[in-house]
């Protein structure tokens, strides 16, 4: 290097005249080079920062400020070969002048080179957080809900599909800003393919009705789906899955259609599967309330006295033996003009659910021990037709009128072929009908900036009819050839609610007046025929009315002082009840009671909220206990009640702490709650080998419960891992009478712990690991029944190349930790081919590779332990091709 410097110094000696360096830049044919950079650095003393100059119109001039031992001059211009000069020990007093000729780079065909940055996964803008869907994909996701659960702050319930954001249940999931799906949004999250969605926006303090802005409860959260740019106009996807299941054809076919124009948004889905999947927002197996709307309308629905739900082990889609599900859904919203919108939602389900079960129960009453068993082969055919219409009209700038209409019909037919106590066969058939017809009208008028009036009217009519046919039927020691139980429960409701919402500075208030009119009627008949023992068959019938009128007025306030807030509320109710039947039973009462609540808390910052509340409620439980005469509910059980119109007095204490820092992807929630209930229906049970008779009566005894939920989530960016930890504890004490016992005081303690760890590497390999542990202990006098279970799931996702993903899932279940020999292992493999930028995907699924046929679950209560063995979904292989058009 030194030699080169010396040679160059000598070569340019004649032209060097001072410290300033100037020069001209031309190409080989004398054209001036417009822009070049000339960088000066020291090859010996590297401490100095570089100096530079940009040439202009072919000339440069730079006066250096640093001291150089060996000055390196690097000249670069785009499209030219760079040139390097060295000056050893440059003389500060001299001017160095250069005439530099740069040689053109040899022309070559230049290929396009694209270097891309990863898009930011989340963007924060006021109350809205925007998630970039692509950033959360690891390759094993197909439907929207599978990617939602990976987004910080968003949770998806594995069983129901319900979505929550920052610990609060999401009210609606909008499509491009419109509330198309209502509260049954799981039709979207279970069916829309991740390929269609570009962004998910989570909105805090969501108001669907803009007139409510700044008033009322603003704790609601919603999500908004932003579709990919190409997904405008009529687009859709077709997913066609075919394979083999138990030597039969396995199929999973779905067709989704989206039409988005300026004034109309429509989404339709049509699916069929026989692989155990449920794509609808309803649960036809366990009859859980899978969507918020069903929960909201719980008080409008008539109860089912004969249960036709199917017991299933906690194995998700493997929990049943077979299915055949058709699901059709259409959602459309049309903008009529600048003021009005009309929305239609139609749902149709036609399903077949198959299950095979073996229940074995050991009941212990002091020294007495009764063991029962039931083998059942179930076949349930639920059908549902649901139509909804919603009309929203902005009357003036400050007032709006909204109407919801709904018609729902759910016929269902369940047949059970069984074998009782391994001695005789029993067959039963349950035919149910459920008709709902309801209408809601809501008028909103914003009086001024600080107040608003809302009036809501609800008419609802619901009737549930059930027919149970049993062949034969045991009643105590008596056996009858046939038993028939026919029930009809009808419920008519009219509700009028008027509410004034207002604001005084930062404090909000609400004053409301309600009038509720409920008219319930329960009719039943029980027939037994052809007594084998030649006994006179008993004849039971119920024809009972339960009517009540409830007038209430109340007020609630939200006082805010800096970050502190206190929300008191009070409701005064006058309740007139009448319970009578056609055989002279008649009770009536008029009650006046107050229900206060108080919540106080601190909103320490945008991330941390702490609150505590105390509430008193008066609950009416009569609906589920109206039958004075016995009714038969299945091949083993009878029940009857002493109806009461007494109210349960419930005190509820709760403490909530929630911390969500989405920037750091960290969250923590602590919920403690305690309730004391004075008054409840207590069971007197007589359990024998062949049947059980339960009588319930309302008694003013205390029932206490306590629960704790802890949830912690953290993204550990250094190792690119997400850690979720859940723990919950609940305890309940309750009383009952079993087989002429004295009053038994019982207690149950449940612990649940789950830990989930998954990686988010950008390279080829990702994994997901989860551990779950449950502990349930029932204690009653001298009895202690303990059940502990353990689960472990491991999933490995391997990106073979840019389009191929392989995921291997292993699930290990230990339903009873005291019996280690009872263990289950499931293996599921999935191979995905998702070429980038292609509208075509292929997935190959191998499910339940080890072909495990049954699953034995263990449960207990205060007087028995049971084992439930159920047939589960057999091994299947499915090849699914997906095309987006």
């Amino acid at each position: 290097m030194y030699k080169i410097c010396i040679i160059l110094s000598l070569a340019f000696l004649n032209t060097i005249a001072g410290q300033t360096i100037t020069g001209s830049l031309t190409d080989s044919i004398g054209n001036k080079i417009i822009a070049a950079t000339i960088v000066f650095s020291d090859t010996v003393n590297k401490i100095n920062n570089e100096e530079f100059v940009i040439s202009s119109k072919g000339y440069f001039n730079k006066t250096l400020t640093n001291n150089y031992t060996c000055l390196q001059i690097n000249i670069k211009a785009n499209g030219y070969k760079s040139k390097l000069f060295f000056i050893n020990n440059p003389d500060k007093a001299k001017l160095y002048t250069f005439s530099i000729i740069l040689q053109k780079q040899v022309d070559r065909v230049l290929e396009e080179v694209i270097v891309k940055a990863d898009k930011k996964s989340m963007l924060f803008n006021g109350d809205t957080v925007t998630y970039n869907v692509k950033s959360f994909l690891t390759g094993d996701e197909n439907k929207l809900q599978e990617v939602l659960k990976k987004m910080p702050g968003i949770d998806v319930d594995d069983q129901t599909g319900k979505v929550s954001y920052k610990g609060k249940e999401v009210e609606t999931i909008n499509l491009e800003g419109d509330n198309l799906f209502g509260k049954k949004y799981t039709t979207a999250t279970k069916n829309i393919n991740v390929n269609m969605v570009e962004k998910v926006q989570a909105i805090d303090h969501y108001y669907e009705n803009p007139l409510l802005k700044g008033l009322g409860n603003n704790d609601k959260v919603a999500l908004n789906l932003v579709l990919k740019k190409g997904n405008r106009g009529l687009v859709g996807d077709l997913s066609l899955g075919l394979g083999n299941i138990d030597k039969k054809i396995a199929a999973d076919v779905s067709y989704n259609l989206l039409d988005i124009t300026k004034n109309i948004k429509s989404y339709a889905t049509l699916s069929y599967n026989n692989i155990g999947a449920n794509y609808s927002p309803f649960d036809k197996i366990n009859l859980n309330l899978n969507n918020l709307e069903e929960l909201d309308e719980l008080s409008l629905n008539a109860p089912k006295y004969i249960s036709d739900n199917i017991f299933t082990p906690p194995l998700k889609e493997k929990s049943i033996a077979g299915n055949n599900d058709y699901y059709i859904n259409y959602n459309g919203i049309k903008k009529l003009n600048d003021r009005g919108k009309i929305k239609f939602n139609l749902y149709h389900i036609n399903a077949l659910i198959e299950s095979a079960q073996f229940f074995q129960t050991t009941n212990v009453f002091g020294k007495e021990r009764i063991t029962t068993s039931d083998n059942n082969l179930l076949n349930k055919k639920p059908i549902q037709w649901l139509g909804e219409i919603n009309f929203n009209y902005q009357l003036t700038k400050k007032s709006s009128l909204e109407y919801w209409g709904k018609y729902n019909t759910e016929p269902s037919n369940t047949t059970i072929e069984g074998f009782k106590n391994n001695t005789f066969s029993v067959s039963s058939n349950i035919q149910s009908t459920n008709h709902t017809n309801n209408h809601k009208i809501l008028y909103t008028n914003r009086l001024n900036n600080n107040s608003l009036v809302q009036t809501k009217i609800i008419f609802s009519d619901n009737s549930v009819g059930q027919q149970l046919h049993l062949t034969p039927f045991n009643f105590g020691d008596s056996i009858f050839n046939n038993g028939d139980q026919n029930n009809l429960f009808s419920k008519n409701i009219f509700t009028l609610k008027s509410e004034l919402l207002g604001r005084i500075r930062k404090n909000k208030y609400s004053i409301h007046a309600n009038a509720d009119f409920f008219n319930n009627r329960f009719v039943s008949e029980t027939h037994f025929t052809n007594s084998i023992n030649q006994l006179k068959p008993p004849n039971y019938a119920n024809n009972i009315w339960y009517q009540f009128k409830k007038y209430s007025i109340g007020s609630s306030w939200q006082f805010a002082l800096n970050q502190f807030y206190i929300d008191p509320s009070i409701k005064l109710t006058n309740l007139t009840q009448k319970l009578l039947n056609d055989s002279g039973f008649n009770i009536a009462d008029n009650k006046l009671f107050v229900e206060p609540t108080l919540t106080f808390g601190i909103k320490a910052n945008n991330n941390l909220m702490i609150s505590a509340s105390i509430a008193n409620e008066q609950n009416d439980l009569a609906d589920n206990y109206l039958n004075i005469d016995p009714i038969v509910t299945d091949a083993r059980n009878f029940n009857y009640n002493t109806p009461s119109i007494s109210l349960q007095n419930k005190m509820l204490y709760s403490f909530n702490m929630s911390y969500f820092d989405l920037h750091k992807q960290r969250s923590m929630m602590i919920i403690l709650s305690k309730s004391t209930r004075i008054g409840d229906y207590f069971q007197y049970s007589e359990i024998s080998k062949n049947s059980s008779i339960t009588k319930s009566a309302f008694i003013l005894l205390n029932k206490n419960s306590f629960s704790t939920n802890l949830n912690f989530k953290q993204y550990i960016s250094i190792i690119k891992h997400q850690l979720n930890v859940d723990y919950s504890y609940s305890s309940l004490n309750y009383f009952n009478f079993i087989n002429n016992s004295i009053l038994r005081e019982n207690r149950v303690n449940n612990h649940f712990f789950n830990c989930l760890l998954y990686s988010n590497f950008k390279n080829k390999f990702n994994y997901k690991l989860s551990f779950g542990f449950t502990h349930s202990m029932y204690t009653s006098q001298q009895i202690e029944n303990l059940v502990q279970s353990f689960t472990n799931t491991t999933k490995l996702i391997y990106k073979i190349n840019s389009g191929f993903y392989l995921s291997l899932k292993s699930s290990y279940y230990l339903p009873d930790m005291l019996n280690k020999s009872l263990a289950y292992l499931f293996w599921d493999y999935q191979l995905n081919y998702k070429p980038t930028k292609s509208k075509f995907n292929i997935t190959l699924d191998f499910n339940n590779i080890l072909n495990t046929h049954s699953f034995k679950n263990i449960s207990a209560n205060d007087y028995s332990t049971s084992s439930y063995t159920t047939a589960i979904f057999p091994r299947y292989i499915l090849l699914t091709s997906y095309i987006n058009f």
Partner: protein
């Protein structure tokens, strides 16, 4: 209420579209201006040695000037919308920057502001970091009253960068204002793009200013707006009018 001032419109329609086969490089940047929660994708196309075009296209430009009243008070303030929609064309031959920026009244039309190139005295540093797999070097400089940190790539021999920034021995891939309110970072680099896009290097404009003249013109405009606000609320009892602060993005980034 919508306040409109009628400008004398003399639109010079000079349209010449050049199809440039020699598009050397296109860089897409994430452009964030945090005080207004603005987050846009901007692109810099270096067409040849002498011309580059920096563009931010906002799809929907809606004039939503609003008068806002603070909750439970008679405090009024005017909220003016902020537009980033623009085209900044650097002419290296004549050392000039032509910025076509939206007019404050008719946001769908442009004013042409002429500024000079190479106005920044950059201090190079030996510190390096990787951006989009390129090794970049750090440089510090002051541009119109704000201090900036630029990360340039000596391997991409273009003395150019986002917005009006240039004059470093390599292409600027990241730029951070020291108050962290302005952040620009490259998200995609396309060298020798296969699909050649047409760029127009002139636009029709309403008015033509040099930078000092534009600053003085806008100050007068805001003064006039404030006077109009005072007049509008003159009859409202106990009304407090919050002075309209200069909202135009150019005056908040290219501060005088």
């Amino acid at each position: 209420m919508k306040i409109k001032i009628v400008f004398a419109i003399f639109i010079i329609l000079v349209f010449f579209t050049i199809k440039l086969q020699a598009q050397e490089i296109i860089v897409n940047y994430r452009f964030k201006f945090l005080p207004e929660n603005l987050n846009r994708v901007a692109s810099l196309a270096i067409l040849n040695d002498s011309v580059s075009v920096f563009e931010i296209n906002e799809k929907e430009v809606v004039n939503d000037e609003k008068i806002e009243q603070a909750e439970g008070t008679n405090d009024f303030s005017v909220k003016l919308s902020v537009y980033l929609n623009r085209k900044i064309i650097k002419h290296f031959n004549n050392n000039e920057v032509n910025a076509y920026i939206p007019d404050d009244v008719d946001e769908k039309k442009y004013n042409l502001i002429i500024d000079t190139l190479n106005a920044i005295n950059w201090q190079l540093s030996n510190e390096t970091k990787n951006i989009l797999k390129y090794t970049c070097k750090k440089a510090l400089g002051t541009f119109k009253a704000f201090k900036f940190t630029a990360w340039y790539c000596p391997d991409l021999i273009y003395t150019d960068g986002p917005w009006k920034f240039n004059g470093l021995p390599g292409l600027i891939l990241q730029l951070d204002r020291d108050d962290q309110n302005l952040q620009v970072s490259a998200i995609e680099i396309i060298q020798h793009p296969a699909i050649k896009k047409k760029y127009t290097i002139t636009e029709p404009y309403l008015n033509k200013f040099n930078w000092p003249a534009y600053v003085s013109y806008m100050k007068k405009y805001y003064e006039k707006m404030n006077n109009m606000m005072s007049a509008v609320f003159a009859n409202v009892e106990n009304a407090t009018i919050n002075e309209i602060s200069i909202n135009l993005i150019d005056l908040r980034i290219d501060k005088k």
